[in-house]
């Protein structure tokens, strides 16, 4: 089950430290930067730890840009598209996992093909469509594409979870007078809660991370998402790095918490269903 290329304890510890450093250093460095004053930043050789830590940058991050609004927009769009994705994907996955379908193989291939679809190519037509529907600068303009972005992956994750639930339980429920749809929502979904949850996290992270469509379709400040908003602290030639860093920390924290609590599910979701990186 295990294969170790490295033997010897010191070597292993060094390797482990490299892995931890690789994963955590960038985020850690941003935290340090966010606590430094603008003047401390401009000394060479640079200070690694802030000598005089300050929270002023966090105040500036919230006042120079409507960071709270960006956070809300990102959260709202991600939550809505996750909910919509889960609803649509649960229905599709149930059909694919449980019903005798003639075109099951074909439908699954289409879903896998769609999961590798380059969304960037849709920028022009989506821009046209949203423009003519008057949906540029609206929550819907992003919720719909993000849902489509996640439905294929989530469907694949859910199919594999539904496959693991014994059919007898559903049959028993239906004997007790439950309808098929009733059995789906009362038996199958609760039992595959870990799967639904995993799919949900993938959909959430997809929506939370997306940048190009958010930048292009929602350019007005009212509907701007966090990744787009965070690029706006810089001027033409000025980069207020401590403020940018503070905003980045604020943006990283919600997902970091989510990942920390649910890491096992995230890993299983990434590796069972298709993958999106």
């Amino acid at each position: 089950m295990r294969f170790d290329l490295l033997s010897g304890k010191p070597l292993r510890i060094i390797a482990g430290v490299i892995l931890l450093f690789n994963g955590f250093f960038p985020a850690l460095w941003i935290v340090f930067t966010s606590l430094k004053t603008e003047s401390e930043l401009r000394v060479t050789p640079i200070h690694y730890l802030p000598t005089d830590p300050t929270l002023a940058n966090y105040v500036r991050a919230f006042t120079n840009q409507p960071l709270l609004l960006y956070l809300f927009n990102s959260l709202f769009i991600a939550v809505c598209s996750t909910a919509l994705t889960l609803f649509v994907a649960t229905l599709a996955a149930y059909a694919l996992a449980r019903l005798r379908l003639r075109f099951r193989g074909l439908i699954l291939s289409v879903i896998i093909a769609v999961s590798t679809f380059p969304l960037v190519t849709l920028l022009v037509p989506l821009f046209q469509m949203m423009r003519s529907l008057g949906l540029l600068n609206s929550y819907l303009a992003l919720i719909l594409p993000y849902t489509v972005l996640s439905v294929p992956v989530c469907t694949l994750v859910l199919v594999s979870f539904f496959d693991g639930i014994p059919r007898d339980l559903e049959s028993a429920a239906m004997v007790d007078g439950c309808t098929r749809i009733g059995a789906l929502f009362k038996i199958v979904v609760p039992l595959s809660a870990p799967g639904v949850f995993t799919a949900g996290i993938l959909a959430f992270v997809n929506a939370w991370d997306e940048f190009l469509l958010a930048l292009s379709l929602n350019s007005s400040p009212t509907f701007r998402t966090l990744p787009v908003g965070i690029t706006l602290y810089q001027g033409e030639f000025t980069f207020p790095w401590p403020t940018i860093s503070a905003a980045l920390v604020v943006g990283i924290v919600p997902v970091a918490i989510l990942i920390m609590i649910f890491q096992e599910r995230v890993v299983s979701g990434l590796t069972t269903g298709g993958i999106k990186g």
């Binding site: 294969f3 955590f24 379908l101 849709l122 022009v124 991370d209 940048f211 990744p227 990186g277």
Partner: protein
Amino acid sequence: MSQAVADRQETEERQTVGGRFARLMDMGDGALAFWLLLPTAVLLLAIIVYPVCRLIYTSFLSLSLTSGLPASFAGLQNYRDMFADPVFWSSFWNTVIITVVTVPGALVVGMALALIANIPFRQRWAFRLALLVPWALPLAFCGLIFAWFFQSDYGIVNDVLRRLGLPTVIWFNSYAWATVAICLTTIWKTSSFMALIILAGLQTIPRSLYEAAEIDGAGRVRQFFEITLPLLRPAIAVALIFRTITALQTFDIPYTMTRGGPGTSTVTLAMYIRQNTVDFLDLGYGSALAVAMFALSMIVTVFYLRMIRRGA
């Protein structure tokens, strides 16, 4: 057995329970599947199939919203313009270079990270988290963080170079160094995803294979190349397809690190599509560029699928 009971029960139910809703809920497999798959189908038709058709159609139009002229059929003019456009070619090659460098780069680094994460440490959650954080970090955040790392005066990269007595680099003033910075950032961001996929593959390899190899006197390096690598092939193939398709769409990291600069030297195909569509509102030309990207990713997908089929 239970299936039969359920089926019988279902037919009885259908006869006794009145009401259209109840009948709808108890219909046969075919009809039920239709309703269950309908939302997915509607979404895919509205957000993928229809837009793709419209994209191809628009690429044959002369349609610029800034000119104020109505759309007119332009034949292959947009494509002719594209092939004669030096910025298209430089953005095309930038995209190809980023893909060709960062996909294998992320694979090699990801493999190394996966092998480390597979060591039976006691604090496994910390190592898994170290792989998940880069994966979950938005690409745009990642670009900004590394733009600060590579900042020429106070960035940590030049600080380390200085401390090592090496010459420092003004990263974003030249095309070559800016591309290096973009590629390094992309590799850091994407290697952890590769590592997670490879790690899952590693954990399915039975230990007995290694024990047998040990008895035959095969060293660790030979074990790696003769057992680990061949058995990881399916996992690696899937990861490579996804990674390559997303690498061709590279936008966030160069946009946040260089905004395409210096000049337009680090503009990628995705950045050029956005610029023509959103900034210049030249939808006809933007569509032709997007069709080019679509063709590029189709070629890659077909190429990989062939490779997998030949391997299997």
